[in-house]
């Protein structure tokens, strides 16, 4: 008797799961202005093994993040990616001659696995809050930077007490467990290190706690914070006083100078013809913060 009831419940559950299924429409997928992703024709990158590989495959595989709204975010209802990093990746794809709508596959790569994914050739390039550092340059190479970020503070819209890094001494500030921003908060004695640094697993959880009022600020790169502020501009704001510098680059295979030069050329063009601004305005710009142009560092 009990078995039968149980089976019935399971079956009903299973049916409910499979029978009705709504296709997601996605909420924050406002399309970029026409022409931004115009596909270039007959692109050639001489002497680039990566590009030859892409050509023979006929499509691109791009590594991105999926949990940063406004930057690299995967909508669970549609499995579509949106954000500033995603649009930059699409722009590069289009300029390399691949239609972002049909010839680009996005792949979520966790932060810790980025170098390995590029070295293994699992992805062609990586766009996802990837800071250019000397240590990483030993394993991969970077085009860009396409964005200059810095550690900043995210607070509630009506908070006027926190105006910069020197006003958080007695506040509770949240960041991700074991990451650089938390380290900086503690080492530079910006807050009481033992009691007031709250460390959680993800920035989304920090933002939840901020909205609850249990903490006073969230601290990490302003790009990430702007993404959250852009999602809820009537509740959150970014303070706008950065206290570190992070240069986000496009991660590429180490020895492919030809492709690196090509991507740099694409980025340079996007900065001069206004496409960079179009992308910024459409994504991170919604937070109300201005976007400052980066200066490319070619090598």
């Amino acid at each position: 008797m009990r078995v039968r009831a149980l089976t019935a419940v399971l079956l009903a559950g299973g049916l409910a799961l499979t029978a009705c299924g709504k296709e997601g429409t996605g909420t924050d997928t406002a399309a970029a202005p026409a022409g931004v992703f115009e596909v270039a024709k007959d692109v050639k990158v001489e002497g680039s093994p990566t590009f030859d590989k892409i050509k023979s495959r006929g499509s691109l595989v791009v590594g991105v993040k999926e949990d940063q709204p406004g930057l690299g975010f995967k909508d669970p209802t549609t499995n579509k990616y949106t954000g500033f990093d995603i649009d930059m990746a699409k722009l590069i794809a289009a300029q390399l001659g691949f239609d972002p709508a049909s010839k680009v596959e996005f792949k979520t790569i966790q932060s810790a696995a980025r170098e390995q994914a590029i070295i293994n050739g699992d992805i062609d390039y990586y766009v996802g809050t990837y800071s250019i550092t000397a240590a990483r340059k030993e394993k991969v190479s970077f085009a860009g930077p396409y964005y200059i970020a810095g550690q900043d503070l995210l607070v509630k819209k009506d908070n006027s007490a926190i105006t910069g890094p020197d006003t958080i001494k007695d506040k509770k500030v949240c960041s991700v467990t074991g990451a650089t921003p938390a380290k900086k908060l503690r080492e530079d004695k910006l807050v009481q290190p033992d009691t007031n640094v709250v460390e959680l697993q993800s920035y989304s959880l920090c933002v939840t706690k901020l909205l609850d009022g249990e903490i006073d600020a969230v601290s990490t790169d302003d790009a990430i914070l702007k993404g959250y502020a852009a999602a809820e501009p009537d509740k959150l704001k970014v303070v706008g006083k950065t206290f570190s510098t992070e240069k986000y680059g496009i991660g590429l295979p180490k020895d492919d100078k030809a492709l690196r030069d090509k991507v740099n050329e694409i980025l340079e063009k996007s900065l001069s013809d206004g496409k960079w601004d179009d992308i910024y305005k459409n994504t991170l710009g919604k937070s109300g913060s201005e976007g400052k142009h980066p200066t490319l560092e070619k090598y």
């Binding site: 009990r2 149980l6 009705c20 299924g21 296709e23 949990d67 669970p76 959880l205």
Partner: protein, 289 residues
């Protein structure tokens, strides 16, 4: 019916019990009412917070997350059973150089928190060049901890079989391995089946610890969907779904254990254990997260 603490109630006691029952029900209703009111007041039952259920992609991701939980459980359980059998046999060995190290291993892995083991595999080991995925780290930790507990269960099961079983087998001219494999182990396994399965329930619950090392199982899924702004951050609804799933799965296993126990009791082939030795081993280890 009398119990240890209470005699059969007389008329006055019955009235008192009824009164207490009324008070109790009132208190419970008040408490539940308050909780439900908090749920309604904060909009937890609003359509928007539940609308994620309708999306096909989310349903698929739920099934995938459930699949990862179940496969971690299946692989972990299989490995733990093998580990347990091997180490139980080793501890029962007559050679001290086999039994002593086995005892040390079993004691050690029962004393180290599972979380620490998972952190060790996932965050510590890469320093030596060994990179494990979250899944492998979870499964290995589950194997070491639950395998050690199961080793004790098996050992207790074998030790509590009547001596005559082994003696008769030796008298028939069987070797030690044969006695173990053909006579003792099958009986012990059968007798200990309910205990083994309740340890497997623990193992199933422990897969949720993978959440702490970003293993994308059921709980991780709940947090992920629960943080979606477009549904008004429906963490409470997703947690209700996840909790119901875990409780359902565990009850299913527990029910299976009870069913086996009942069948065993009817079955003459199963030898009743001499005492509760076996149960005592397990009762304390029943509570890993």
């Amino acid at each position: 019916m009398t119990t240890v603490l209470f005699d059969v109630p007389g008329p006055r006691a019955r009235v008192r019990h009824r009164l207490l029952a009324v008070v109790g029900i009132a208190a419970i209703v008040a408490f539940l009412g308050y909780v439900i009111w908090r749920f309604i007041d904060t909009g937890q039952f609003e359509g928007r917070k539940w609308s994620w259920i309708e999306y096909k992609q989310i349903q698929i991701s739920l099934v995938e997350a459930l699949g990862r939980t179940l496969s971690a459980f299946a692989v972990g359980a299989a490995l733990a059973l093998v580990f347990g059998a091997v180490f139980a046999a080793a501890r029962l060995s007559d050679h001290r150089w086999v039994s002593a190290p086995a005892a040390v291993v079993v004691e050690l892995f029962r004393a180290i928190p599972l979380v620490i083991m998972m952190f060790f595999f996932y965050y510590g080991l890469p320093a030596t060049g060994v990179k494990l995925t979250a899944f492998t780290s979870v499964v290995l930790s589950l194997m070491l901890y639950n395998g050690s507990v199961l080793a004790e269960v098996f050992r207790a099961g074998i030790n509590s079989l009547p001596k005559g079983q082994a003696e008769a087998a030796y008298a028939l001219g069987m070797r030690k391995t044969q006695v173990m494999v053909f006579v003792l182990l099958p009986q012990a396994l059968r007798a200990m089946m309910p205990t083994i399965i309740s340890q497997l329930v623990v193992l199933l619950k422990d897969t949720a610890l993978g959440f702490l090392i970003t293993f994308e199982e059921l709980l991780y899924w709940g947090r992920q969907i629960g943080g979606q702004l477009q549904f008004g951050r429906p963490l409470i609804p997703t947690m209700i779904v996840v909790a119901a799933t875990y409780i359902g799965l565990c009850l299913l296993l527990t029910w299976f254990a009870n069913y086996l126990e009942k069948r065993n009791r009817r079955n003459k082939k199963v030898i009743a254990l001499e005492n509760d030795k076996a149960e005592l081993v397990v009762i304390g280890n029943d509570h890993q997260a």
